[in-house]
Symmetry: C2
Subunit: 272 residues, 2 copies
């Protein structure tokens, strides 16, 4: 998907919501667990109920891999079921030496129809570049993550520049605003102004709203650029909104709708 | 596998060689490509031919995932075929927020019988700790990688401490010498003295010998500790030693044997 297509989709849906599909059998209602492929059954119902309110889906690979072969099968079915209109993110946090990253790129961009993959920056340029060689495919580099452990290394500072700032700056020479985004956690709303000074035009994928407590308003106010430039993800806050009930998908739809409506307001208020 | 078992295995085999199974169809001989499961056929032959000379196998996940479902199937067959006597590493470079890392740990330590998984440190403590909750299982944290991109961030310095040094120091509070190793690339032989000052007792997994040009002698001289403390990996240099020939496995065996013999010499020369 191109940047232009993504931006058009955002304006059409009046939403920059990304729904995170982190399927956890322990949180599924019994009616789902009884089906042949519970993960796909669950995801399909969630997708049908939320697609009207979001522009992207993020599949957290760990939740599929945890089930071995059958999980990989559910992953494949899910990504193939996702509507063409929506941006498809493999939340894989991959990244390895060049010849290996190339194989990962084939896995997610050729063997499966993902639009984007999340990549950890620790190994530097040659671990990221193979992902950038595919037309209309995106790399989403971890800059400032939403978890507590983000404090351990990401704020390390040299010459007044912190590690996550250096990642934001350095990676701009690897790709463009048309094929490179950054992960910036919603749990650091105070950082968005600064991040927008370093990377004013790039899209940011923002996890951590909902279960992790991020503040959607602050993120939108300080993170939005002229093309919106935000994909805000909620996983658990949407897909488990109703608990283990038969109408879990309807409840997820309501949760997604409520975020979409909030976003619609911010689109009028904060768009540059 | 416990540290004691690993150390005993090293002394018994007179080897600290890890063979990297990075199966690449483009480099397989035609006779292998004709089989039902070429990746498993290739790996099985390599394992049979090299197990006498090594103590560990490292499976590079990308090379399996690139083939989608069938690759995942070959991965599962391969890890189940590996001898119990050998240390089994999932070279996955995973790492995510806590609830996600827990799922990855289940994938590799429960759904599959790996002994260890490589993890990227960028996301900090809570991305690593879930892997450390499994008895006799290991986390191998990227400290200083073998690729060119290691220059981009890993030498960033604050207060006289470089990022990879901080990773080496900080991660010691997350695990012990019984469940935590570090990746240190063979392409930085000049760094091993310094790394051994920061982490004298931990095992190091050392990729980059062979195709990437690392110097086995220097690494052994400066990296060995009282328990050997090294697993030196070669992937392409062993498994593709013979090219696309029918006796590729025999050639791989010779390449592994030659490294083992070199290591046997260093074990007498450099063991502290």
């Amino acid at each position: 998907m191109t940047r232009q297509q993504l931006v058009e989709c955002i304006f059409q849906q009046q939403s920059y919501l990304c729904v995170g599909l982190d399927p956890d059998l322990d949180r599924f209602p019994p009616s789902v667990l009884e089906t042949d492929d519970p993960i796909f059954t669950f995801n399909k119902a969630i997708i049908d109920a939320t697609k009207e309110y979001c522009v992207a889906y993020k599949l957290n690979l760990a939740f599929y891999e945890a089930h071995g072969l059958s999980g990989w099968q559910s992953l494949q079915r899910t990504v193939e079921y996702l509507p063409d209109t929506h941006f498809k993110i493999a939340d894989a946090k991959r990244g390895d030496i060049g010849n290996t990253s190339k194989k990962y790129a084939q896995a997610f961009f050729e063997a499966m129809p993902f639009d984007a993959i999340t990549v950890a920056p620790y190994m530097g340029a040659d671990s990221v570049e193979p992902f950038l060689a595919f037309d209309d495919k995106w790399v989403i580099i971890l800059a400032l993550t939403s978890n507590e452990g983000s404090q351990d290394f990401q704020f390390m500072s040299e010459g007044g520049e912190q590690l996550h700032e250096r990642v934001l700056r350095t990676a701009q020479s690897w790709g463009t605003t048309e094929n490179l985004m950054y992960v910036v956690g919603a749990t650091h709303p105070e950082q968005f102004k600064n991040i927008r000074q370093i990377a004013p035009d790039h899209f940011l994928l923002v996890p951590g709203v909902g279960a992790q407590g991020g503040d959607l308003k602050a993120i939108s106010e300080y993170g939005m650029n002229q093309d919106v430039g935000l994909l805000v993800n909620s996983s658990r806050g949407i897909i488990y909104a109703g608990g283990k009930v038969d109408d879990f998908a309807e409840k997820a739809g309501h949760a997604a709708q409520s975020l979409q409506e909030e976003m619609q307001g911010y689109l009028s208020a904060f768009l540059k």
